[in-house]
């Protein structure tokens, strides 16, 4: 028996090690390196200097960069909220359609889901261009002055972010809504609930898993957004992702790029750690 279980452990190790070591080498260790590099000082040319320092984090939290951190947070949360707001009715509507119509709408939503994001962002660059049609309409109705610009603003970044991530929010919400038993709503209505109450207290709680998945699918990539502010945003709509790329490719200051990455990592991991800890605590209480 004993040798059998030992042999089993050995097989398990042999089968697990290729992937495990790959991820340790090319995911875990690089992530740790990024955190370590953030603690290294650099000279004015961006080269590494010996020793350790916290100066990079002091730079990050200087008044110069606080607006960028704040913008990253609010743009991400606002676009996540907007994506949920639009996805819930779409998911609801799709799950109530006939099989044939549902397939057509699903197809129309999966295509943008799979279309290369660069292309989808570039399409907006065309539309919002100062010589473009929307600019002309807006100027005509006096919404913006003739010298005004639609593109290269934080509002554009928000719009294009919503455009990019909306399919990622619709699909999980639709998947959850499809499994929802709509007789529950009928029952609630028969028992005197208003439409609104049935929607809030019956439908939404039942698709909560889909809502959570949609939130994660939109919020996390938004926080790390780089291409969208880079292509349609201006200098006043930079996000943390732009600062990482800037430090890595333009300023060539590796410790600063690493420090920004560490901050972003902390912003994403913190909620995850809180969720994980609360889950473990809940489990312990239940035991």
């Amino acid at each position: 028996m004993r040798s059998d279980s030992n042999k089993n452990k050995f097989t398990e190790f042999v089968l697990t090690s290729p992937t495990l070591f790959w991820l340790i080498f090319f995911f875990l260790i690089p992530t740790i390196i990024a955190v370590i590099m953030a603690l290294r000082p650099s000279n004015p040319y961006g080269d590494l200097e010996p020793g350790w320092t916290l100066i990079n984090f002091e730079t990050i939290f200087s008044p110069l960069y606080i607006p960028v951190i704040w913008r990253t947070i609010w743009v991400s949360f606002a676009s996540t909220f907007a994506c949920l707001l639009f996805s819930i009715p779409v998911g609801y509507y799709m799950s109530r359609l006939s099989e044939k119509n549902r397939k057509i709408i699903l197809f129309l939503i999966i295509v943008p889901f799979w279309t290369n994001s660069l292309i989808r962002i570039f399409a907006w660059k065309l539309i919002l261009n100062p010589d473009g049609i929307i600019q002309a309409i807006f100027v005509f109705f006096g919404i913006i002055p003739e010298s005004g610009s639609l593109i290269y603003s934080t509002g554009t970044v928000l719009l294009v972010t919503i455009y990019s991530y909306l399919p990622f929010a619709i699909l999980p919400i639709y998947a959850a809504a499809e499994r929802f038993d709509f007789r529950l709503i009928e029952a609630a209505r028969d028992l005197g609930a208003t439409r609104w109450h049935a929607f809030i207290y019956i439908f939404l709680p039942n698709i909560s898993k889909g809502l959570m998945a949609a939130t994660a699918m939109v919020l996390i990539p938004c926080l790390g957004s780089y291409v969208i502010p880079d292509l349609v945003g201006g200098t006043s709509s930079q996000m943390i992702g732009n600062l990482i790329a800037n430090q890595a490719f333009v300023a060539r200051n590796i410790p600063m790029a690493a420090a920004w990455s560490t901050l972003l990592m902390a912003m994403i991991l913190l909620p995850l750690v809180i969720i994980l800890c609360s889950k473990i605590l809940l489990k312990k209480e239940n035991c």
Binding site: T19, I33, P89, V90, F107, L108, I109, Y163, R189, V227
Partner: protein
């Protein structure tokens, strides 16, 4: 009920218009005879001709395909292995394995790109096709694992025990039982890995070196400096390819469901 679903219908139509209007504008514009391509200056095929005459597009597309196919194969092997281990053993080691994969899924592209760049710099690997391959395999493994794990949910391990009792050795079990039963999951995971790899811009942008530019990285450089007209023409091609691919993959999954 009626009012409610009418409201959601309008929102759905609005969302679809929102999705497709920019793509339609882009498609129309790809035939627009204006250098900076905004106001309509007549019909032309010029940008498509330019596209076919640009050798760099073919070269970068080739790079993308090489990376896509090789990293797909590697991710299929590694992802299937880890999915099998996570599902079969359920030990402490697998707990670590599973969480590493889940965390990896949650990390934004730019962080993966940046930390891999730092890693390659610190161990002095020259940036090029090899570093792109490593990066792509790393982010594809998790997706393949998740897809194959989904397939394993309805996998009855009693079959393996039965085969063992009847004298089958592991190589036979793998070849005759595990692979055939898992192959739809492995293939789906592989296709996902291939599309993710072909589409990836951010991670590749960080770990690419001279001569190893992939198509998305090249498209991005054309968007930033230079020829937006060719970008329109390429985009239309990629759009059409996406439409066809999604159509066939939908058909495939639908026919499987009815079987």
């Amino acid at each position: 009920m009626k009012y409610k679903s009418r409201f959601s219908k309008y929102i759905t139509i609005l969302v679809l218009v929102f999705f497709y209007l920019p793509m339609i504008v882009m498609t129309v514009n790809s035939f627009n005879n204006s250098k900076y391509g905004i106001t309509w200056k007549g019909f032309t095929f010029q940008w498509y001709i330019d596209m076919f005459n640009n050798p760099k597009i073919l070269f970068t597309l080739l790079n993308s395909l090489i990376i896509g196919i090789t990293s797909m194969v590697a991710a299929m092997v590694l992802g299937t292995l880890s999915a099998f281990c996570i599902h079969y053993y359920k030990s402490k080691l697998q707990f670590i394995n599973n969480n590493l994969i889940l965390i990896q899924l949650g990390v934004p592209d730019i962080l993966m790109g940046m930390s891999l760049l730092l890693f390659f710099i610190s161990i002095h690997i020259k940036l090029g096709l090899l570093t792109i391959f490593i990066a792509h395999v790393t982010f594809c493994i998790s997706y393949v694992t998740m897809v194959v794990l989904g397939r394993l949910q309805n996998f009855d391990f009693a079959i393996i025990e039965a085969a063992k009792d009847l004298g089958a050795t592991w190589p036979i079990i793998i070849r005759k039982i595990i692979l055939p039963l898992l192959s739809p999951g492995i293939v789906a995971g592989g296709l996902l890995a291939f599309t993710l790899s072909i589409d990836d811009f951010v991670i590749t942008f960080f770990v690419t070196g001279p001569g190893s530019t992939t198509l998305p990285v090249y498209i991005y450089s054309m968007m930033k400096h230079g020829s937006p007209t060719i970008v329109n023409a390429i985009s239309v091609f990629i759009l059409i390819a996406t439409f066809i691919l999604v159509y066939f993959s939908q058909k495939l999954t639908n026919s499987k469901k009815t079987q």
